[in-house]
Symmetry: C2
Subunit: 277 residues, 2 copies
């Protein structure tokens, strides 16, 4: 039995970059890798079996990784300490931690970059994510300057100390519906590109938070309730925005006002990325 871990990842703003080669397809943008994430255990099994928080599931993105890396049937159990299903890059952290664990279980002798590339392809080909994996490999507050798989995409980091991020889940949001609307994609790409350009001038946490909020509003992606939650945090002196793509608000500084909107989860920024446990 081997275990591996990957951080979750909250995107603040992004631009979709299409490419016929899935290794080059992905996104530019910026987000936070959170230490709360996904732990995956892998053991040999009679047939491939996927568990998410103890319950059998399809886990298509992880299944792609298993198909490419496992020499024999495996049982893969991923446990999350963030909400699964929108806003936390759960499919990416599941696929990435599975890739690291399978490399160890089968002594594949692959490098982290090679393993990350398989997880990126799994995300892009299943349309479950566009840039979480490279950020989850890296850790910290990750600027995705150029899109693509690990080894192809280019990242930089916003300097940060030990800070806490608070978040609250307000509802659900259909990623699929949003990403199939060409007008919405044009909005996302125009505002995402502008936000990245701004951020690169002065890459600080405060700028990241401010640009993320502007992106959420200008694209029209933010819900009314999420906007209320962001404003409540700002009135308390904190900074907040919406996690892309989920009806989730995340905040730094004083995030206590989030508790009026639901149960508040708290995580530190991940120091370092995914790893074997």
């Amino acid at each position: 039995m081997v275990k591996a871990y990957a951080p979750s990842h909250i995107t603040g703003f992004f631009e979709i970059v299409e490419d016929s080669d899935p290794a080059y397809m992905g996104s530019r943008g910026c987000g936070m890798a959170l230490s709360s994430g996904c732990e995956t255990e892998v053991v040999l099994g009679k047939k491939d079996l996927f568990l998410i928080n103890g319950e059998e599931a399809d886990a298509l993105t992880t299944a792609y990784v298993v198909e490419r890396l496992a020499n024999e049937p495996v049982e893969i159990s991923s446990s999350y300490n963030v909400p699964v299903g929108g806003g936390f890059g759960a499919s990416g952290s599941g696929a990435l931690s599975s890739a690291y664990a399978l490399n160890a279980l089968f002594s594949l002798g692959m490098s982290l970059e090679e393993l990350g590339k398989v997880a990126h392809l799994a995300e892009v080909e299943n349309r479950t994510g566009l840039g979480d994996v490279i950020a989850q490999m890296h850790g910290g507050i990750v600027i995705r300057r150029e899109p693509g798989a690990p080894g192809i995409g280019v990242v930089d980091d916003i300097p940060t100390g030990d800070i806490e991020v608070g978040y609250v889940v307000l509802g659900s949001l259909s990623t699929k519906v949003i990403l199939e609307d060409p007008r919405m994609i044009r909005e996302i790409n125009a505002h995402g590109r502008a936000a990245l350009k701004e951020l690169l001038k002065v890459p600080t946490l405060n700028n990241f938070m401010g640009l993320s909020k502007r992106f959420a509003i200008d694209t029209g992606l933010i819900s009314e309730k999420a906007r209320d939650a962001v404003e409540a945090v700002e009135e308390g002196g904190g900074l907040a925005s919406m996690a892309m793509l989920g009806d989730v608000v995340f905040a730094v500084g004083n995030f206590e006002p989030l508790s009026d909107f639901g149960e508040v989860g708290v995580s530190s920024i991940s120091c370092g990325g995914a790893r074997l446990l």
Copy 2:
């Protein structure tokens, strides 16, 4: 007052890559970033002052960083929990942690890559190091595939779990004398290039350790005492080699036999790289 941390870095094998542009100059090779490293405190002062483990020192590499990043005189105090002076990349961790701290103290709004680049230039221009900084920014067991400053050099990682590294300092070694001998440089480069090519085929911890040992022996850099220490570890079932460039032996697995050769230091592999504290 601000504080920052950088891991130390033990190189197993390397190839020197000269370039007239110091951002492109550096080394290829592989080494381990250790969580035992350098903590640097920076405060405003009356004049620039450098302390290493509490004692005033010249700290030329860090002084280069201060000259480029500090708007006012500063007192910089670096405390190491590894030996300073050969084998642990102490000048790199001092310069890098200083750059991170100065960015915070003066609200410079620079990215980690921009700060890492200043520390890399400081190392290369002072001839105190050739590839420690990019590895110390990254953390883990770092393969330096292409030389140069962060953003220019290309790195990958060997997958690793929570393992401990033991080390013992046997004596001192003059880096300067070694690196001014053209015949020695040719040896280092030929064997370093071959070791990297081998490692990239199967990038595992065991291969890294074996190739490092072969490099240390084939280049003639290993001292007789260091060779005895490596053999003692191997007889006990562990793996060991020499830290480049210092008369230091490092080991994984059972490193207990090192205690016959001196006081044994122990560190985990650094998960994640340098950061603000």
